[in-house]
């Protein structure tokens, strides 16, 4: 829809609404009049912005202890009935509320914009405290801050904004997930995802509950949440903060609070933008001429595979650039409308959202429709009830084959046309068996259907009972209900010799319920210089899933795709149901002495169905101490320091992150040619598996200096995880697998060892310039984490957790090393001169015999890669491998500048990684001249041999040399004896980068102007996301997220993050 139409429509609607609400407001006031019989004075006044003196419109004014309420008008003026001596409560969103004593006469009230670091309320789990009274390590980010990067899903926007949190995009696919690690990799079981809690509702992390499916498509359950509705996000990092959440909180907690209504006149806001996305970078692939020249040379060397059509490369054109064909400039649109407000009895927030994003790769689209209703009702003076309810519908098109779109685009050569002249799809027609048939990726993305639909309800219903002034009970029922379907159809097609002769369709539907019932008492009491807050409660969680799938082939028409129109004799179906549960008892005490010394103690007992009955229950605890140093006498007069607080925390948390029913062997019914069915053992049991435990210490210092100009927060932590839970990647002879391997049993979940994370994170915010017309603020975050494996069970010094690619171990986790360290040989050039064969060790065969030097098959020859003989035994074998660097960054940082000048605001945000390595898997395949895919242009520099004596023997080792000895590309010989693709530092690249994440320029129209059209504020902006990146990495995007820490930093052609240009408006009406 045209943006202007939308805006006009909204203006019309809001005008009408305003009229109605004005009446409502008047009625409220008259109620006030009616009920406040004994008020007799009319107080008038004006509310102004303290920084610029502009009137504030729509400010709520309440008389404390009565039902009197009003709002300010267009000039910021109000009048209300109140007695001298009564207190007015003046509140406005984004501004610090004030209590004003009525002294009679005309009041001028200046409201100050909220000072985030002080008045901000921080969610601590089953409660909240002012930031100043916080004892744990918690970082917060406001919804406004979050939205500056225009994220499709909120988790993407946390990157670089929160110190101590490493955020990496796993897939740039629309709606794709990110991996988030808080204070390092403390656990290596499937993921290190923190616990996500939205308004008390626990949301499964991105890879749960269906890990396999998510890994393929990168689908993210968090994508159902509209970022426009988020009020704030609190990231709970240390044990003292997370322990109260119990068993799922070991990796930290991300608490999302959505906006709620406040006691105010209706606030209507609209956020909308349109954007265009581009692929930021293309890989250097050969064109048709270059491909032809390489293949011609290769055919001479191989003595076969000469292709007549390439006989004369210079008459060939550039051919097809498949990256250009598969990637497109794609639009994205977002509309979000929020209405909130309320009276003293009921407050509401209602929001509508629509988000539509086409992926930059063909066949990937994402659409989200969402509705949210948050209600709070003070039913009686002792009972409060309310709800947070979100409905979301998500449509996704995932027919681009999974996340590895780049490798898909590189799998087909430039001699193939996307479409032939006759309109048929292009494909490989060369019938030589050597040339494998490959799918046309554009054709696949266009023809195949793979659509996912999801309806999600995230709801929370609560009742809060105030027994007396100090004691209350809150009952909560929260649920996350997820209904999803996937609809797939593969029609009959032909891409040259790659044909799909029979069409097929499949449909699957599933539902996941995640229910929590929670009850807790809160007791607050203050006496003298002491104040105490006690919490005690119980919660029980049940999650169930059910799914069915059906498929048929041989549909009479490609157009009629419902399952029942397929051939009934080909029908197949499947389905599973299951559940798991957990339960916890928890308690917390917060004690505050003289507003200087704060103590927190947590205790929680957790039970989980994931463990055998004798290991089901576990106890976690934590304690924290905070010292508000600024409140001590000796700092009272130190004006440089405005605020200073020291925090100490220590605790133990427990992790249950394994699937249910894996501790005992499961037998699955399978078809069998002997008896019809048989029972197949699907996993290897471990009856001894128990909770993983983490001991966490944290020291933090928060402060504000120089007249509130600089604020900082520093955390230093030491986390040790014991009894690490992991689905162990055993050697292959175990007959088990931690991944996918037909016929292998699922590897057991084992408590395999210990791991240590030590690190620090720092956040510094400064106000560099601040005056009436110009402000400049910067925020800098930096995180450093050292990860080290302390033990890996009883495998001795050789114990390791290896990850393989193409039959080789590329990453090896070992004691004393960080998790997921790269492993392999050290590349040492190519065999280029006769002397190289004398000075360099040669690889050996299975019996330890050196491979012969020979041009024949089975020999080592010129152009093969040399490796360093690290153990000096004169041969190259597996003992010559070493550690090649870590995928974990030494530092991750974010740097944000925001400048406002009169109505303009400019925001520039950088984030980056330093010191990590990436395995560039595409460089292995695309730099290999013996493969059958599109090469990188570097292959043109393959190792070329020449003869010293041109008439001499070409197979005499002393008569040959390599003319380009510095090349890293092997020769064209058709022999793999040297295993040139073995893991080496040649494929491990520096992944450091600085990325400009966003540049956003906005202009807020003058309020005076807008007031005439009933608009409170209007901001228009332009935004560029990912405008540039500085990196040495040669792949598409150095930001390689992974949900498997053992396999972090493996780039197999991920869906890259796009460059996005957006134009948008933020509109607020009164």
């Amino acid at each position: 829809m045209n943006e202007n139409h939308v805006i006009r429509w909204i203006q019309r609607v809001t005008k009408n609404l305003l009229n109605k609400y004005a009446i409502l407001a008047v009625m409220l006031c008259s109620f006030g009049l009616a009920s406040a019989q004994d008020s007799n004075e009319i107080v008038t006044g004006t509310v102004l912005d303290q920084s610029n003196g502009e009137p504030l419109i729509g400010v709520s004014i309440l008389v404390k202890g009565s039902n009197q309420a009003t709002i300010t008008d267009l000039k910021g003026a109000f009048s209300i009935k109140a007695k001298v001596g009564q207190t007015l409560w003046v509140s406005y969103i984004g501004y610090a509320s004030q209590d004003i004593k009525v002294t009679g006469g005309n009041l001028t009230i200046h409201l100050k914009e909220s000072e985030k670091s002080l008045n901000e309320v921080v969610v601590i789990g089953y409660g909240s405290v002012p930031r100043k009274d916080l004892t744990g390590s918690i970082s917060s980010i406001s919804g406004n801050e979050l939205r500056k990067t225009q994220p499709a899903t909120f988790d993407q926007a946390l990157q670089g904004k929160v110190a101590g949190v490493v955020v990496q995009q796993v897939s740039g696919q629309p709606g794709g997930g990110v991996s988030i690690q808080i204070h390092g990799i403390s656990s290596i079981s499937s993921n290190n995802s923190p616990l996500y809690v939205i308004d008390g509702v626990i949301i499964p992390p991105p890879s749960d509950p269906d890990p396999d499916k998510s890994h393929i498509t990168g689908t993210n359950p968090l994508s159902a949440i509209n970022p426009s509705e988020i009020e704030s996000i609190d990231v709970l990092k240390d044990a003292s903060a997370t322990a109260i959440y119990g068993s799922q909180a070991t990796n930290g907690v991300i608490v999302i609070t959505t906006k709620r209504g406040s006691v105010s006149a209706p606030q209507i806001s609209y956020d909308g933008y349109i954007g265009y996305q581009q692929i930021p970078r293309k890989l250097p692939t050969v064109n048709l001429q270059q491909l032809a020249s390489i293949l011609n040379d290769r055919a001479l060397s191989w003595n076969f595979d000469a292709r007549p059509e390439f006989a004369n490369p210079k008459y060939l054109g550039a051919g097809t650039n498949w990256q250009n064909e598969l990637f497109r400039s794609a639009p994205q649109t977002n509309h979000s409308l929020t209405i909130s407000g309320g009276d003293k009895i009921t407050q509401y927030m209602f929001s509508l959202g629509y988000y539509d994003q086409q992926g930059i790769a063909l066949g990937s689209d994402f659409q989200r429709y969402s509705v949210r209703l948050n209600l709070d009702n003070k039913t009686t003076n002792w009972l409060k009830i309310g709800t947070s309810l979100q409905l979301a519908h998500v449509d996704e098109n995932v027919s681009t084959t999974g996340s590895s779109v780049i490798s898909t685009a590189l799998g087909i050569t430039p001699d193939i046309a996307v479409k032939n002249a006759d309109g048929t799809w292009g494909g490989i027609t060369n019938t030589a068996g050597w040339i494998t048939s490959v799918s046309n990726p554009v054709g696949l993305a266009t023809l195949n259907k793979d659509k996912k639909y999801r309806n999600q309800i995230i709801g929370n219903v609560y009742a809060e009972i105030q027994f007396c002034k100090d004691l209350s009970l809150r009952n909560e029922v929260t649920g996350n209900f997820d209904f999803n379907t996937e609809d797939r159809f593969n029609p009959v097609y032909a891409f040259g010799k790659m044909t799909n002769g029979i069409n097929s369709g499949s449909y699957s539907a599933g539902q996941n319920y995640y229910l929590v019932v929670r009850n807790y008492f809160t007791y607050n009491h203050a006496f003298g210089v002491h104040s105490i807050n006690v919490l005690a409660g119980h919660e029980a969680q049940l999650s169930t899933y059910a799914n069915v799938s059906a498929s048929r082939t041989n549909f009479p028409s490609n157009n009629i795709q419902s399952i029942s129109s397929g051939d009934p004799t080909t029908a197949k179906n499947g389905g599973n149901t299951g559940d798991n549960s957990s339960e916890g008892y928890f308690g917390r005490i917060n004690y505050n002495l003289m507003d200087k010394y704060l103590l927190t103690g947590n205790l929680r007992r957790d039970g989980s169905s994931n463990f055998p009955s004798d290991h089901q229950w576990v106890i976690g605890y934590s304690g924290a101490f905070a010292w508000k140093i600024k409140n001590e006498k000796f700092l009272e007069k130190v004006e440089v320091i405005n605020d200073l607080k020291l925090r100490l925390g220590y605790g133990q948390t427990n992790n249950q992150n394994i699937p249910g029913n894996t501790f005992v062997t499961q037998l699955q019914t399978v078809a069998n040619g002997l008896t019809g069915i048989a029972q197949n053992q699907v996993n290897l049991e471990n009856l001894g598996v128990k909770w993983e435990q983490m001991i966490n210490s944290n020291v933090g210092l928060d402060g504000t200096l120089f007249n509130w100009k600089i604020n900082f927060s520093i955390d230093v932590y030491d986390r040790n995880t014991h009894g690490l839970l992991l689905q162990v990647p055993f050697p292959l002879y175990s007959g088990t697998t931690a991944g996918y391997q037909p016929g292998a049993m699922s590897a057991p979940y084992v408590n395999i060892g210990s791991i240590s994370n030590k690190g620090f994170d720092i956040r510094v915010g400064t106000t560099n310039i601040s005056n009436k017309n110009f402000t400049w603020r910067t925020d800098f975050t930096i995180s450093h984490n050292e990860n080290k494996v302390l033990s890996l069970g009883r495998g001795g010094s050789s114990a390791n957790l290896s990850q393989t690619y193409g039959g080789y171990v590329f990453a090896k986790t070992m004691v004393g090393q960080p998790v997921g360290e790269f492993y392999g040989y050290v590349y040492d050039g190519v065999f280029a001169t006769a002397n190289d064969f004398k000075t360099h060790a040669l690889p050996v065969d299975q019996n330890g015999v050196k491979r012969p030097i020979s041009k024949l098959g089975g020999g080592i020859w010129y152009g093969d890669r040399m490796y360093k003989d690290l153990n000096g035994d004169g041969i190259i074998d597996t003992r010559d491998q070493t550690y090649l660097g870590s995928p974990i960054p030494l530092f991750q940082f974010g740097f944000n500048n925001s400048i406002t000048c009169k109505g303009f605001d400019l925001n520039i945000f950088f984030s980056g990684n330093y010191g990590n390595k990436i395995l560039n898997q595409l460089a292995i395949s695309q730099n290999n001249p013996t493969s059958n895919a599109t090469y990188f242009t570097s292959v043109l520099n393959y190792a070329r041999t020449a003869l010293i004596n041109p008439t001499g023997d070409a197979s005499n080792v002393n008569n040959v040399y390599v003319t380009n000895p510095t090349t890293t590309i092997v020769g064209l010989r058709n022999d793999q004896t040297n295993e040139n693709s073995r893991p080496s530092n040649l494929f491990i690249e520096d992944g450091s980068f600085i990325r400009c994440k966003t540049i956003a320029l906005g202009y807020t129209l003058p309020e005076k102007l807008l007031a005439k059209v009933n608009i409170r504020s209007l901001r228009v902006y332009v935004n560029v996301a990912n405008p540039f990146i500085i990196t040495k990495y040669t792949g598409m995007d150095p930001e390689i997220g992974s949900w498997n820490p053992l396999q972090a930093g493996w780039d197999n052609g991920y869906y890259p993050q796009s460059r996005v240009f957006t134009f948008g408006i933020n509109l607020k009406l009164n």
């Binding site: 003595n303 076969f304 002792w382 030589a432 068996g433 027994f467 009970l473 009952n475 002769g501 029979i502 009850n519 080909t570 197949k572 599973n576 299951g578 039970g607 169905s609 009955s613 249910g660 499961q666 037998l667 019914t669 399978v670 078809a671 069998n672 040619g673 002997l674 008896t675 048989a678 029972q679 197949n680 053992q681 290897l684 049991e685 001894g688 055993f730 050697p731 292959l732 002879y733 175990s734 007959g735 037909p742 016929g743 292998a744 057991p748 084992v750 495998g795 290896s802 039959g807 171990v809 065969d845 299975q846 019996n847 012969p852 098959g857 089975g858 597996t878 003992r879 295993e979 073995r982």
Partner: protein
């Protein structure tokens, strides 16, 4: 009134918490059976052992390695368009060769399923299940485990022996065990199986005769192990003769009268098949018999697809067949112009366009009256041990270390195999006649490479010479004349000659990196 409300709510809450009883945390799987609730009756045991005869357990080896290792590596067959197959053909196998890895992974998958089945029965089967039934079920699992280890030993020699996979949880990194102990382990399993398996069972299940036949073959192999000068260990030869002879004479089983019928699905599990994999249709990728992917044409495959790696016979194999040996030739591989009416019968049969493997190519779903058969789930129950194999093992055991033999028993059973195929009986036997007979009889049944490995144990030079002197090229065929391929793909390859190293496969590179102890010298298993 208000306080009463509060009390009521409080009481309701307490009831709700109390309602969360201890059973709340017990959540057994709703989709699968747990081992601690299984193995309760003899029929449970039969369901558990049935699983070991096919399906995903065997898939990895069967699809990825069975024919490539048995027939490409040995010079019977060739497919030039897949680098890992070419490595087998040219004996330039690297430590990341996917065929070799599939064999390693797949055979150990079978071992793991057998081990957990054996341990599950021992642990959970109640006293109400008779010892005889328990032992019979364990015997089936031990037989199949022995077959898997037999292949492991033949290809790699020294390999780790695993009896209880759960022990890997505490001790994941193993040494290789010395090859003599691997064979001893195999012989122990087969001896137990021979004692505890019944003499007859439903078609498809192994019997004591399967175990005794396999035991004869294992002893024949062991007879050459570590021997030099072309002399084999007579004690093991005697054991081989004893068990194989027992099967020949006392099993009551005879050869199936027709050689070609053995490879048709109507004749799945005939008595001659002492051990055949029990494949089911409609099981999809990763679970079924995928030998149809070696088919020469999509036209004769189910769903008209999947003929990815059509295997061509070599000229060397072709030359071995006498003109009288046409039954076995036509059932094993086709040459240009051969007509097979049973393949795609509805489409008028199939006329071969060139030399190609025929065995295991059974036509489409209609030809086999199996509507849900896919090219990923052929319903052929292909045999890993046939009675004919035991006959030839018996003859070879009698030949032993002699240059020739005219022993009546040896000739009797050797010639039963020949006469069934319609070729003239032999009057004297030597190692060459037996090797060639086996190569012809079991072409494309994955046997010939293991025959060469068995030979290499006690007569390495002969084994090396056989491989080096093969006409390892493909051929074209027209008007009754076969012409070896001249050059290029399928023609002569310039590779280094075989050495004794060529008879051992390299260990997977990833496995050596994950378990560095595999590179150490093998250690004894039996202390």
């Amino acid at each position: 009134m208000k306080s009463i409300n509060k009390i009521i709510i409080l009481l309701l809450l307490l009831v709700a918490i109390a309602g969360c009883d201890t059973g709340f945390l017990d959540r057994p799987s709703q989709s699968t059976i747990s081992s601690n609730n299984f193995y309760q009756t003899t029929s449970d045991l039969r369901l558990a052992t049935a699983n070991l005869y096919g399906g995903s357990d065997w898939w990895q080896w069967h699809y990825g390695a069975f024919l490539p290792l048995g027939d490409i590596l040995s010079g019977n067959a060739y497919f030039p368009w897949f680098g890992d197959f070419v490595q087998l053909y040219t004996r330039t196998i690297t430590a990341q060769n996917s065929v070799m890895q599939s064999a390693w992974i797949g055979l150990y998958n079978v071992v793991a399923q057998c081990n957990t089945t054996i341990n599950g029965i021992n642990q959970y089967a109640p006293a109400s299940v008779s010892d005889k039934d328990k032992n019979a079920a364990i015997a089936e699992a031990r037989f199949i485990r022995a077959v898997a280890y037999y292949h492991l030993a033949m290809h790699w020699g020294a390999v780790p022996i695993i009896e209880d996979n759960s022990k890997l949880i505490n001790d994941p990194l193993l040494n290789r065990n010395i090859v003599t102990d691997v064979y001893k382990f195999i012989a122990n399993d087969l001896t137990f199986a021979a004692k505890n398996l019944p003499a007859t069972d439903v078609p498809g299940r192994v019997t004591t005769w399967s175990a005794q036949g396999m035991l004869g073959k294992a002893y024949l192999t062991m007879a050459g192990l570590g021997q030099t000068g072309g002399i084999r260990n007579q004690a093991y030869l005697d054991s081989a003769k004893f068990y194989a002879g027992n099967v020949c004479k006392n099993s009551g089983i005879a050869l199936h009268p027709s050689y070609s019928e053995l490879f048709k699905t109507q004749f799945n599990d005939v008595p001659e098949d002492l051990f055949a994999l029990q494949w089911a249709p409609a099981v999809g990728w990763g679970n079924g018999n995928m030998l149809l992917t070696y088919s020469p044409s999509n036209d004769i495959n189910p769903q008209k697809g999947g003929s990815w790696t059509s295997l061509a016979p070599t000229y060397d194999l072709y030359l071995l067949y006498s003109s009288k040996d046409s039954v076995r030739r036509k059932a094993s591989f086709m040459v240009t112009g051969d007509y097979y009416p049973e393949l795609n019968a509805a489409g008028g049969g199939y006329k071969a366009g060139g030399p190609a493997m025929k065995k295991h190519i059974i036509g489409n779903e209609k030809d086999n009256n199996a509507p849900t058969m896919e090219f990923t789930s052929s319903i052929e129950h292909d045999a890993l041990l046939r009675l004919a194999d035991v006959y030839l093992v018996y003859a070879e055991a009698i030949l032993g270390s002699n240059a020739t033999t005219t022993d009546a028993d040896a000739l009797l059973y050797f010639n039963k195999v020949r006469t069934r195929a319609g070729v003239d009986p032999a009057s004297t036997l030597n190692i060459d006649t037996i090797l060639n007979e086996r190569r012809i009889e079991f072409a494309f049944e994955g046997q010939y490479w293991m025959d060469l490995v068995r030979l290499s144990y006690w007569n390495p030079q002969k084994a090396i010479d056989i491989v080096n002197n093969q006409q390892r090229v493909t051929f074209s065929y027209a008007s009754g004349v076969a012409t070896p391929t001249a050059s290029g793909t399928g023609g002569p390859q310039s590779v280094l000659p075989a050495t004794i190293s060529s008879f051992t496969l390299p260990l997977p590179a990833s496995e050596l990196a994950a378990d560095p102890k595999l590179a150490d010298a093998p250690v004894p298993y039996f202390k």
